[in-house]
């Protein structure tokens, strides 16, 4: 996955992501594609969660999955989640949960609770940083005020790094793929540098839904695992998602 929250020169935030999934779960030799990624595409849905006929939050999801990987609480926050691969991974959390140790929360349930209940960016940040989970993760969070954007790097038990936007230092966006941002990515899976190159080329003045979609459409940020691209803006109350394809030649991840 690739998630980015960028702040334009007027202080408005745009939060966007590519959702990549299905690595090593079967390769379709005939169509040169990952089977699971292709099977997931017809299942992508936008969901408007309502209470009393009013929107509580919006999400792009897969039919049958009741948690949240991409969501926006209008007027309050935007949230995406990227997979963090770790040997102390979710399979251990699942095993512990099955065996009766149930302090850890399922990731999708945590994100959904945050979108349903959080009343502010700060509130969401606190919950996403401190709740024990079954699996490690990256949470990418955006708020409704300038400067409110961060990447929370999570182990199963706690937050191990917190990276917030700092426009004073010229950091006008935070961008996360599937590697700890303070370490180099795996050399055969470097989507971070190509994405940052395109973000820097666009510049803070030029950032918009149009240009951020361009960034997320550039290979290898767009790759064979990409199922959808979603873009969210609290200030303009916009939420858009599109199904994606990466015709050959295209990186498998």
């Amino acid at each position: 996955c690739t998630s980015v929250v960028a702040q334009d020169t007027s202080g408005k935030l745009i939060h966007a992501r590519n959702l990549d999934f299905g690595l090593f779960l079967g390769w379709d030799v005939k169509n040169n594609s990952w089977l699971v990624a292709e099977l997931l595409k017809p299942m992508v849905v936008n969901v408007n969660f309502q209470r009393n006929n009013k929107t509580v939050f919006l999400s792009t999801s897969f039919a049958g999955y009741i948690g949240i990987l991409t969501g926006m609480k209008p007027g309050i926050l935007t949230l995406t989640m990227n997979e963090r691969f770790n040997l102390d991974g979710g399979y251990l959390g699942i095993l512990e949960w099955i065996l009766g140790k149930r302090q850890g929360v399922w990731m999708g349930f945590l994100t959904r609770s945050v979108l349903e209940n959080a009343t502010s960016y700060e509130d969401a940040k606190e919950v996403l940083s401190k709740t024990e989970m079954l699996a490690p993760a990256y949470f990418i969070l955006g708020g409704n005020k300038p400067g409110q954007a961060c990447v929370i790097t999570r182990s199963r038990k706690l937050s191990i790094n917190f990276w917030e936007l700092d426009t004073q230092k010229g950091e006008w966006y935070v961008l996360e793929t599937n590697y700890d941002h303070w370490k180099p990515p795996l050399f055969v899976d470097n989507r971070r540098d190509p994405a940052m190159k395109c973000m820097n080329q666009t510049g803070q003045k030029g950032i918009s839904f149009t240009t951020i979609y361009d960034v997320l459409s550039t290979k290898p940020v767009l790759n064979k695992l990409t199922t959808y691209t979603a873009m969210m803006s609290i200030s303009e109350n916009k939420f858009e998602a599109y199904l994606r394809d990466c015709p050959d030649p295209c990186m498998p991840w």
Partner: protein, 120 residues
């Protein structure tokens, strides 16, 4: 290793509004009414998406069977016993999804912990 054309491109422009070969379609909107009982919330969405959901679950089952046929037995027989341990309203919602899709409960539970399972 990845920085080799044509696998890496120069930054693209003019791709929005989405069209062309990298655009596969729009995403359909659904409403989930949180005032409804959790079991009923997903019925409409799942009745529309039953076929692709079943296809995905079948693929995962085939994959699991190729590793060990016992894996699916565990999913089908053990996971459902734990549904009562899920916090409200998630257990009821998952039951509703499984029944609407006509897919065994354990397999929908597995789909909902996909992320946790594959984060290694």
């Amino acid at each position: 290793a990845q920085d080799v054309p044509p696998y890496t491109e120069t930054c693209r422009s003019g791709t929005y509004p989405p069209s062309g070969p990298t655009f596969k379609g729009n995403v359909q909107w659904y409403t989930v009414n949180l005032d409804q009982p959790p079991y009923e919330r997903w019925q409409k969405l799942i009745s529309d998406k039953k076929a692709p959901l079943k296809e995905l679950v079948q693929h995962i089952k085939d994959l699991a069977k190729s590793i060990s046929p016992k894996l699916i037995d565990i999913v089908d027989n053990t996971l459902p016993l734990l549904i009562g341990n899920l916090p409200y309203p998630f257990g009821e919602e998952i039951k509703g999804v499984a029944d609407a899709a006509g897919v065994p409960l354990g397999e929908i539970m597995l789909f909902n912990i996909f992320y946790e399972v594959f984060s290694v």
